[in-house]
């Protein structure tokens, strides 16, 4: 099960990276987000899986695809100046970062110990537990998050409307 969802996630992300057509890349992103939701389910966290599907696959990607279709620029534009050096440096940087970090995780004794200890205590995340923690310990943060969403909404309207 884990391999299935991991492959959906990573192949979707890779397809997004390599795809020329932006709409198809957006659809690959939807697949990736569903794969991540599956990983959250396997982590005994159905709340996060549901939120992932509702917010990312549902809201954010619909918004992105909507903007892609509205802007009518479905293909990547021709480069003004080709920058081969920068591109190869970026590729080398990303590969070095990925290999180094993966090697570090696989050889870390602390992660291995946490893995063994954690496997023995399978506790599902319930909505009740999340709600209690959220509203008992983080009430102010919750309200600020609501304010931030309102500010972002007003900002987005102000930026896109031609004449207010």
């Amino acid at each position: 099960m884990f391999m299935t969802f991991a492959l959906i996630t990573l192949l979707g992300a890779l397809g997004m990276l390599l795809q020329k057509n932006i709409i198809v890349a957006g659809l690959f992103m939807v697949a990736t987000f569903f794969g991540v939701a599956g990983l959250f389910l396997l982590l005994a966290n159905p709340v996060a899986a549901a939120l992932q599907i509702i917010v990312y696959s549902g809201a954010i990607m619909v918004l992105v695809l909507f903007v892609i279709m509205m802007l009518n620029s479905h293909e990547e534009e021709k480069a003004e100046t080709s920058r081969p050096v920068q591109r190869w440096v970026s590729v080398a940087l990303v590969l070095a970062l990925a290999f180094g970090a993966v090697k570090l995780v696989l050889s870390s004794a602390g992660v291995k110990a946490l893995d063994l200890r954690g496997a023995a205590m399978p506790q599902a995340m319930t909505l009740q537990k999340v709600g209690t923690t959220l509203f008992a310990d983080h009430l102010l943060g919750f309200e600020v998050a609501g304010l931030l969403l309102l500010a972002a909404m007003i900002g987005a309207v102000a930026l896109t409307k031609r004449n207010l």
């Binding site: 996060a48 939120l51 534009e77 954690g118 959220l134």
Partner: protein, 112 residues
């Protein structure tokens, strides 16, 4: 430990497996930001990197016995990501109106 010994624990869904998936997801998102020129593709790369951070966070939470604090952070990350999506896409639309492009190389200066 080398070779298969190192790779095997990632295949069966242990903590290492989730962390490796999160790291590779982050690397792909970073590659999308660095290599693609379309702003919308770079935006999707940023979303991928945020998701990779979420996968790592919730994997650690699960292997620490279902820590609910992580879910609170996850909720805040999602709220900030939604704000970022709304404002970022509004900026892309504004750029397209003024310059008729969504290429980040063509938007290198603030002047018209």
């Amino acid at each position: 430990m080398t070779g298969m010994d190192a790779i095997l624990p990632t295949l069966n869904g242990g903590l290492q497996g989730y962390l490796v998936v999160a790291l590779l997801l982050f690397a792909i998102g970073l590659a999308a930001v660095l290599l693609r020129r379309t702003l919308l593709m770079q935006f999707m790369g940023v979303e991928l990197m945020l998701n990779a951070a979420n996968v790592a966070l919730l994997a650690f939470a699960r292997f620490r016995g279902g820590d609910a604090q992580a879910m609170v952070f996850y909720l805040f990350i999602i709220a900030v990501a939604a704000c970022e999506a709304a404002v970022g896409l509004a900026l892309v639309i504004g750029l397209y109106r003024h310059r008729d492009t969504t290429d980040s190389d063509r938007a290198a200066s603030l002047k018209q």
